[in-house]
Amino acid sequence: MKQTIVPLGPQHPVLPEPLSFDLVLEDEKVVDAIPSIGFVHRGLELLAPKRDFEEYVYVAERICGICSFMHGMGYCQAVEEVINLQLPRRANQLRTMLCELSRIHSHLLWLGLAADAFGFENLFMHSWRLREKVLDLFEEMTGGRVIFSIAKVGGLRKDISTETIRRASKVLRDMLPEIKEICDVFLNDASVKHRLCGVAVMSAENAHKLGAVGPMLRGSGVAKDLRVSGYASYGELQWEIITEKDGDCYARCAVRVREIYQSIDMIRQLAEKLEDGPVDTKVLAAPKGETFMRLEQPRGEVVYYVRGNGTRFLERFRVRTPTFANVPAVVTLLKGHELADIPTILLTIDPCISCMER
């Protein structure tokens, strides 16, 4: 059969950031997909040896505007492990809380983008309306809506009052009926199911073999979530890894929806357990040695590698972001599908090109 190559991206209505695929089609069916990235690569890793390791936090949190806090925190955790710095309990609790708020904000953002991709404008607007409330909480707690600059090596730059935390937890619980309303549409509406159910199925074995991470992996039934390792304050929370078995676009969507509820519950637990005390500890040494640090971001496992030589300048900082890990899986998933389904499939990996083009 005659083959046609259709370029999808780097500018495409469904792609908020530049990513490109050369889709090889036979009739309307994709038989091959060649990805192209690197359109906005920033070389942030190469900047690490030129910046003081404490100041580099500002660069690390600019890797991405959606999980900016988690990037800053992940970098700090890696440096803290090399220095062997123990953080006060309150600092870890507040960090964990900001991580879970980031997850809620990221998943609501994704739900909106997904709704927009399959033409459900109303759902898109309601998802983002709720996301605004989370951004308001960020503003109240940190002073920033996108970049918070609150994480630092050794803890947090400023304390957040217990009263503010408890109020934030209440705001989230009050949002539950509204979140449930839109999530019920995502999970039960016939038109949504029509676009997501049975599309781009990835088996657990394939997800594992292709190195998929986050909801991509858990949507295929693999119970893998780095929060289990108990970093920050996750060790003191009651929770279970959320998985779905079907491995299709709907399963990936369902994992994210259920994680929103779970994150709200985690924040409730943290607000109840919040301990009084300092939020930082003094940094008395520069990093000498190396470590790998892994965290669970909204999109999945992120890996930071830090190597210091005892000076204030790191020898190497490397970050492997979840979207980078999910690209090989999506390349495989696109094959065999109709051209009309490609935007939806692409979106179900929740691509963050800013992260990938660190």
Binding site: S36, F39, E81, G310, T311, R312, R316
Partner: protein, 133 residues
Amino acid sequence: MNPNIEISELKPDFIISRVTELSVQGWRLVQMSASTVQGEGDAQQVELNYSFDKDYKLLNLRVLTVSGAKIKSVSGIFFGAFLYENEIKEQFGIDFEGIAIDFRGTLYKTAVKQPFIAFAPKKAAVPPQGGAK
């Protein structure tokens, strides 16, 4: 270092057999990365890290080589490696042989070829005493 992280050094010739072994044992490729390190004298070397995960344990295979060296691709064993190998090829000049999808130097558009090699310090920095501000 974290007790769940293990680093083991490996000669380049044994990469394929060791990675195949890990694949059979159910390890997942987490990432591949590279760093420049100082060898003997002023010789600059490239340190490759192949990271694998199983039951939340991180196993790193560390291979020491030089920019321009030929290393066999593991993308035939773990397809996801193709992206990491293309990245390392462009940033550090390691020539991976048999990459599943080879971008032939067009993954990133950089003003300087192999920037991590071009901007690497020529001599190891001497750490000052103390280190804190």
